[in-house]
């Protein structure tokens, strides 16, 4: 027999790592209690977390969903949880959630804003995710008019006549360039649609409506409210402010004196006044300048003001992106022999926009939250409606439930935007990492 009895012939089973070096304990030691000050901070944080949750959780869950007034809520909570209990009155949300979502939009037509919202998700999907079929982009192009028609209703020919204006502009840009040169065709592409909208679009829409009446029940702007109003204003502002902002940023860097001064003047003026001032101009001052009896829709006015406001900020954000781009990129584009628009489209903008993504999305989020300012000029957005709901003597005195619900809705939207921007940054990451 060989004298190898001290040598093992079989492997020992692996032992679990020491308790302090594995699992939750290790994680806690490394992250929560790595040093004495850290341990103290951790305990303090836990204490405050406990205090906050101990205060809010019972309030959230010791609640009443079924009562039909604040007094009813209080009675129901007392009956269920004892004399001293106080809790949330979620019944107000149950009774009024449709109002917080849709305002005074006729309830039998709720499918229209819902459909518009779903279509919006479909329409922006190909913009957000480039793996989707490009054909959906056609829906994206038509979507603004479709949404306008779905939300406001009325004759289908009005949005169609507006689309025709863009078609005319596009055709002019493509087919008149041989005839009039680049500058001429650009001017024609701007002027022809404006002439069409001013002079012929209304006549065309009326004529087509009398020949072939297609339309859905129209809903006036006064019926708009709640979250739907915020989303409508917010999405319009977001969708329009990006392209306008890009053009303003390019205009600000232009060598053409008039364009540059106009862009700088616009941007600096708009950035120099608070949004609420512009909203007051939209709601009160414009009334004086417009002829009596003019019906220039208040929501449209607000949308224009919000878009102008957001565009000026967007222009500066994009200018930041342009400024961050090394000069070599511009020179490389020139060296390739690309003209101005091609170099912008193919070389400069993709890089500048990528740099600016976090700020752009911050702007979007800020814009979306700014839509609550319209409650100050009497539009019933969720904040305005919370006041109107409180004016119902059944619900007078309810504050936190309404604000909590509104905050939750805003958080969902803003958080989604924020996550998407982080996804986009990761996807477009081309640096060394």
């Amino acid at each position: 027999m060989t004298n190898t009895s001290y040598v093992r012939t079989e492997m020992l089973p692996e032992k679990a790592p020491p308790l302090a070096q594995a699992g939750a304990v290790k994680w806690m030691r490394e992250n929560l209690f790595s040093s004495i000050p850290n341990a103290i901070l951790t305990l303090l944080a836990l204490f405050f977390l406990y205090k906050a949750l101990a205060g809010t959780l019972p309030w959230i869950f010791q609640s009443s969903m079924t009562a039909d007034s604040l007094g009813g809520c209080r009675d129901a909570i007392k009956a269920a949880y004892g004399e001293d209990a106080s809790g949330a009155c979620w019944a107000v949300i149950r009774e009024r959630y449709h109002q917080l979502l849709f305002g005074f939009y006729p309830s039998e037509l709720y499918w229209r804003p819902i459909l518009a919202f779903v279509l919006m998700l479909v329409a922006i999907a190909p913009v957000l995710y480039d793996t989707l079929p490009r054909r959906i982009l056609w829906l994206t192009a038509v979507y603004p008019f479709l949404a306008f028609w779905l939300l406001w209703g009325g004759s289908v020919w009005l949005p169609i006549s507006i689309i025709l204006g863009f078609v005319i502009g596009g055709l002019a840009a493509v087919y008149l360039s041989n005839l009039l040169g680049t500058l001429g065709s650009t001017l024609a592409a701007i002027l022809l649609p404006i002439l069409w909208w001013m002079l012929l679009a209304g006549v065309f829409a009326d004529a087509m409506q009398s020949i072939l009446p297609i339309g859905i029940e129209s809903v006036e702007s006064a019926m708009f409210g709640g979250f739907m109003l915020s989303v409508t204003i917010g999405i319009t502002g977001i969708a329009l402010s990006l392209p306008i902002g890009i053009f303003l940023a390019l205009g600000r860097q232009s060598n053409l004196l008039i364009i540059r001064s106009l862009c700088i003047g616009f941007i600096e003026f708009i950035r120099g006044v608070p949004l609420i001032t512009l909203l007051f101009v939209a709601s009160t001052l414009l009334n004086y300048f417009l002829p009596p009896g003019t019906n220039f829709d208040i929501i449209l006015r607000v949308m224009i003001m919000v878009t102008l406001f957001a565009s000026a900020y967007m222009a500066e954000v994009i200018r930041g992106g342009l400024a961050a781009l090394p000069k070599g990129q511009y020179e490389a584009a020139d060296a390739l022999g690309l003209d101005y628009w091609k170099s912008m489209r193919l070389i400069i903008m993709p890089q500048a926009l990528k740099i600016a993504i976090p700020s752009i999305v911050s702007n979007f989020i800020g814009l979306f939250k700014d839509t609550t300012l319209v409650s100050i000029i009497g539009l019933l957005d969720p904040i305005g409606l919370s006041n109107a709901i409180r004016a119902d003597s059944n619900w007078n005195g309810i504050v936190w439930e309404l604000y909590g619900f509104i905050a939750l809705m805003f958080w969902v939207v803003c958080f989604s935007m924020s996550r998407y921007s982080m996804y986009l940054e990761r996807k477009l990451q081309t640096g060394h990492s």
Partner: protein, 404 residues
């Protein structure tokens, strides 16, 4: 919230240049600004965007004209149209088929939308009565929610036909802002609410108290006047809305909450223990609240005024929504009831309406007393006593001139 003056009434006595006009958003009747506004009439066809058709009935022909001319010659057309368009709110209302009524964005008991979006309340009832009188349909009202800051512009610019929004009748609003207050539908006054535990029995005991007060309102000015006149000190806690005031007051951020007495009662009614809070006996201001219309259209002002008077007279004469149908069938013994309900004489035609206009107005929501009892009276959770708002025969101030 109710008596807030917005930013403007105290500041308006200068309409000299366009610059001044623009600064003072309230100014409607500023000659140069009006000229500027009118000179832009031609833009109507482009700016009248959206599915709503034009609201102005009388303007229709001008509008057709303008569609052809648009910018060219807009000035001349506008000059003509301006002369024609200024009169006849009643014709406008009849032509468009509904009344555009400015109300509060929400005030307990006075104006609030219910779960179905139907507006209801004490002020809203006035609008419904007017619509019933003019158009025969109490539902033919579109409500424009206005804030303390937008209400006067909305009326001055023609966005609303009548403003029924708890607006205090003051000299400067009536004279300087060029509105016509057509009467008073609620006599209010500023009061104080304190916790019972404070042991205060009179506002004069409030020396050194912290007071929750809404900024930019007449209540703020009244408070300063009152404390100065009585030579006592206070520390204001500025707040923005009534809801915020409730939270601050309940959290103990201030000892006293002051606003209109009706608002205090409505607020106290929402507390978990209303009995722990008392309203002090002092009422330190006069706040006559009433509907108002634009200066310069007396026919419309008459109609709104006498619609309100019809509601008040109906209570005085004992005409209620229960006996209205029977009383308006045939002339009864009381000639004034007969004249009111149109079974005798023809008061309606003097207003440009038919005989049964007042009967329709009363049918819309009952007489003044019924409207009061249903929206803010003692049986509701707000629980306001009639007090100053009782009929004159019962010691109140509610008084209608005779229907004769």
């Amino acid at each position: 919230m109710r008596s807030d003056a917005g930013i403007l009434p105290e500041s308006a006595s200068y309409h000299r240049s366009i610059g001044d006009c623009v600064l003072d958003l309230m100014v409607r009747n500023c000659p140069n600004l009006r000229a500027l506004g009118i000179s832009m009439r031609g833009t109507k066809t482009i700016l009248a965007f959206g599915p709503k058709s034009s609201r102005k009935g009388t303007d229709h022909q001008e509008e057709v004209k303008m569609k052809k001319s648009v910018f060219l010659g807009a000035l001349t057309v506008a000059g003509l149209a301006a002369g024609l368009a200024s009169a006849g709110t009643m014709d406008d209302v009849k032509a468009k088929g509904f009344l555009q009524c400015g109300v509060s964005t929400g005030l307990v008991g006075f104006a609030a939308p219910d779960a179905n979006g139907e507006w209801d309340g004490f002020d809203v009832s006035v609008c419904r009565a007017i619509a019933a009188a003019v158009l025969g349909d109490a539902k033919a009202v579109k409500f424009t929610p206005t804030t303390g800051k937008t209400r006067f512009t909305a009326l001055a610019s023609g966005e609303v036909d009548v403003l029924a929004r708890n607006t205090t009748w003051t000299f400067s609003r009536d004279v300087d802002l060029k509105f016509t207050f057509i009467g008073v539908n609620y006599y209010d006054g500023q009061g104080f609410m304190v916790p019972k535990a404070l042991g205060v029995a009179s506002a004069k005991d409030l020396d050194g108290a912290t007071v929750c007060i809404q900024t930019g309102t007449t209540t703020e000015l009244n408070l300063a006047d009152y404390f100065r006149a009585n030579n006592i000190k206070y520390e204001p806690v500025p707040i923005e809305t009534n809801a915020e005031a409730q939270q601050q007051y309940l959290a103990g951020a201030c000892d006293v909450y002051t606003t209109d007495a009706s608002g205090l009662a409505a607020t106290r009614a929402t507390f978990e223990n209303p009995g722990d809070h008392v309203l002090l006996p002092e009422i330190i201001s006069k706040e006559p609240l009433g509907p108002l219309v634009r200066h310069g259209d007396d026919q419309w002002a008459d109609l709104v005024k006498w619609t309100l008077n019809a509601l008040i007279s109906a209570e005085e004469l004992g005409v209620t929504s229960a006996n209205l149908a029977e009383m308006s069938k045939a002339p009864g013994n009381n000639p004034e009831i007969n004249r009111l309900l149109g079974t005798e004489g023809d008061l309606g035609s003097m207003l440009g309406l038919d005989k049964a206009w007042a009967a329709r107005a009363i049918a819309a929501g009952g007489n003044y007393g019924e409207i009061f009892a249903r929206n803010i009276g003692e049986a509701t959770s707000i629980g306001l006593a009639r007090g100053l708002n009782a009929q004159w025969a019962n010691g109140g101030l509610i008084y209608s001139p005779p229907f004769r």
